[in-house]
Symmetry: D2
Subunit: 316 residues, 4 copies
């Protein structure tokens, strides 16, 4: 218990001390750097033990306790760790980033200072096509010759943008107004300080395959290069229980349970009742998002999806 007074020394993590200030590059001109941190795997254990009492000491080793806490969403001990990063990022990705509210932020101010003179550029083979399946995603790349055209137009436009900005400054216009037409691709910098629980939440959303590629690039670096060094036990549990976990809904459970026992006919019937096997007039199965997600889970578990076995293709 805390009641026993002990002289403490600061808790340092050599693997983190080694990378303090180091720029991990992201995108064409961005980076992430650790400025400072507080706590680590063992401060989570320390905090959990004040909550969950002495009893935990006997039955669990530290690793087991951390894994238990993460599996059961006992989130407060993870809040006892804090990290401060310096991030250089295009404003467009930053607009998504800043929506995570439980963090402390000091962003470079283009009201006080002249805007950073770099914009994110796109190489000719990196123009992504609009996904047909998802309103929000991208899929595949534009062919390179068309890509060259777009990259050149991007370059000219960005030059023009800087010229317009600098012309205004030259004419004495206030920085707060001169900046109004800067492109979203303009880089900004920010100190970003967050606790580990909220950082893991950020990572679980932004390392996800549905996250936009630009912000994923940052999230991947923070996860793989920083959190993994900072709290290796937490990171391992996070991969097992969050990143590579799967949620099985009430409906999924019923179908998986039927399929696992080979009762594919009952599974078919259950889906029918739930309205997940609707067909058009020609008898083709209609797309249904919830069913598609179930199908992906069944596939992931090595189970079959008998309702897809028919010859008739899906209605488009």
């Amino acid at each position: 218990m805390g009641n026993a007074e002990t002289k403490l020394t600061r808790f340092n993590i050599p693997a983190m001390d080694e990378i303090l200030g180091k720029h991990f590059p992201v995108l064409d001109d961005g980076f992430v750097a650790v400025i400072d941190y507080m706590g680590g795997d063992s401060s989570i254990v320390q905090a959990a033990r004040v909550s969950y009492g002495d009893g935990t000491k006997k039955i669990s080793e530290d690793r087991g306790l951390i894994r238990y806490l993460l599996r059961h969403r006992h989130t407060t001990p993870f809040e006892m760790c804090e990290i401060k990063l310096l991030i250089r990022i295009p404003m467009d990705a930053w607009r998504q980033w800043i929506r995570h509210r439980t963090a402390n932020v000091n962003e470079y101010s283009t009201r006080y200072s002249i805007a950073i003179d770099t914009m994110q550029t796109t190489s000719f083979d990196q123009w992504r096509l609009q996904s047909k399946d998802s309103k929000q995603g991208s899929a595949g790349f534009l062919d390179m010759s068309a890509g060259k055209e777009l990259s050149q137009a991007e370059q000219e436009f960005q030059n023009k943008a800087r010229e317009v900005y600098e012309k205004r400054l030259e004419m004495g216009i206030a920085r707060e107004q001169a900046r109004k037409d800067l492109p979203l691709s303009t880089y900004t910098e920010a100190y970003w300080k967050i606790d580990l629980h909220n950082l893991l939440h950020f990572l679980s959303l932004r390392m996800d395959s549905h996250a936009q590629q630009e912000i994923r690039a940052y999230a991947d670096i923070i996860g793989q290069e920083i959190v993994k060094r900072w709290c290796p036990t937490v990171w391992e549990a996070f991969v097992d229980y969050r990143l590579e976990a799967m949620t099985i809904t009430r409906i999924d459970k019923e179908i998986i349970s039927l399929m696992a026992r080979g009762q594919s006919e009952s599974a078919n019937q259950k889906l029918q009742e739930l309205g997940l096997l609707k067909r058009n007039e020609s008898g083709k199965l209609l797309r249904n998002r919830e069913r598609s997600e179930l199908e992906a889970k069944l596939k992931n578990l090595g189970l079959e999806t008998p309702w897809l076995k028919e010859k008739k293709p899906l209605a488009s």
Copy 2:
């Protein structure tokens, strides 16, 4: 788009208007009452459509959209609904409740006013025994004759507590100091205002079977009597995707996948490698929390747990 100006009228939900101010009783002298609310199923749809754009109108009906949002943890549209409750609750349960930080609270002040003159009492058949399996739980009841003894002692103690408190007030002691020895069973009241996203999070934790019975009683009422009336489509999705869902970890996935294809030997071996099948010297399987949880999931899905089939009992 919001760009088109329209005269609006307030969004009312008749099923909610009917219960405004009604006390839903909880425990021996507690209650929950709805004081006001903002929004409902359709304001979630409205908010989602400003974010996700016109496209969503065509492909999804409202119910489908709400279910999609909840399934994919697109949480911000749920924050557009707000509810204000009045709660009467013992201070002990309130101590747990108040740990949910994303809510607005006005609690009855025993600094300004004399403490409410009711304490939560325990009937002779409601004394719960400490769980042996769980440090934090209870399991089964004390036999009634012993229970009578405890209930009587509780009554005497509570009377004494009130007497001590009132004696102090009589002697002119400041309320802020007189209250210092009030038992945690003393009832308090509070206005509690929260958005639907955070309320669902509260419910998913406090309706859980591991939550303490007293706070579960409140959470159940709020879910079943209030949220179900307020946002019936959200409630239905919440039951399907949260309350009755199951999380499958990376390890669970591998084992379920093997068992579903009848490869029980490989499943056994995999668990062995992961250190989840340790035995003591006499060859009895040692308890392992992560494995127990996996076993419960397999059972829930109708799958077998071959490593438990041996005759030798578990080591205690």
Copy 3:
């Protein structure tokens, strides 16, 4: 007390119901509209009374209670009121707005939908010059002929920006990538929901004379057209105790106290001791920010600043 059960009807404010959905125009193409609200002056009183008890009923009328609460920063009762706005605003101003974290937000997504086809433009007489006194401010306007040049360049640049954007879309580029060079002047829309306490905090910062003109325009409308209708008593108190109040520091107090009693010599000496009256070699007073602020307060109170009376001008 809440203990007495009463059938409630929803709390409506006719002055608000009249403006639901109405667009209050801001800037050249922005607006603010009220979508819904919860509570008002009287729900603050209701909440305060659960906290501060029956006693408050006797001594204070509602207005007095609200004024007392605001004066003494008893903030929780103000959190019991909630409002939902729809806002159309340039991304540049939105970048400042979104830094207020204690609000719920659903912003128009340019990942899901095509960006709104309007950018904020600057009329030729509205180009503001960089302030010399303040790193962050503006002061005065560019002369109109030069302004015409800038406005024309702005128009051409914005046309070009839209052209680049639409060209990308035509070529099938994903919306999430096509948007990357949109100017910050591009309008966006968002639902924004916030409680009254946090809204007042937002207003006190953003109606301030140091706030950027663009965001002030929104804050002024929200204050004068919306909060004033919604909670007239709170608004009156907010003007008296926040907007038109003044903070007097420990040092200010000493000087004001001396000046009020006509002891200007002692005031001079005190400032000297505090290092606030430093001079350069030629004996000219050096600029000092803290002293300037004190001088402004003294002036505001009708008191003199004897140390400025000398003939020698300030060192620049």
Copy 4:
């Protein structure tokens, strides 16, 4: 700018390292101890400079910048400092403490462990009388002989409380239920982690003369013994601009301005118009809270309150 990569070493504050783990005693059996910290005066400056740009380097020294930031409520740089404390405190004071939501908390759990066996006791000369002026305060002490009686009753009651609790545990009752009648005076412990901005807000409320004595004792120690060592420049500014500052309302400004110029008749008349000089039938001035506060401020500034100079006493 952050753009230049530099190898960093952790930022340590020797004065803090010396007290890590040290128990600063509070009340009869409580304490506060620093477990860890991140940042300090210079990380505030670092963060401010990313926001406010290089320009600030030239004109302000660090101390001036910190003082400017605090005076002008530029709060985000202060959020860049974080501290983790271990606190031992009676549950009654903790109930007030926990209302500060922007902190991370791990409290000792009486669900998992047996409650700490100490309750806060009151010495016979420390029983405070209810204030007549303030619903919420205390004023003066009970005479000691009556105090002895109360202290003895307190001791007996607390012994009884522990006996009841332990009896339940002996009979096998679950800890989560056995605790239900523990007195609020029972000590608890918690890790409490908070950023400097929110800590200063906590201190400004809890070091205030209206805060309850028990929580003030903790706040005073945190301020005087901890923050002062951690961020000495911030502490100095906080005392000058917050703790010993004064807010002057719109009305106060007018009256102070009149009184400072000796126009006491106009001041009288102004107050009359504002309804702050109401009298009863016998002509005695009625109490008015806003006026009393103004009178206190005038006194503090060495100014007179002519309306109080009459012989007639205040109406009670």
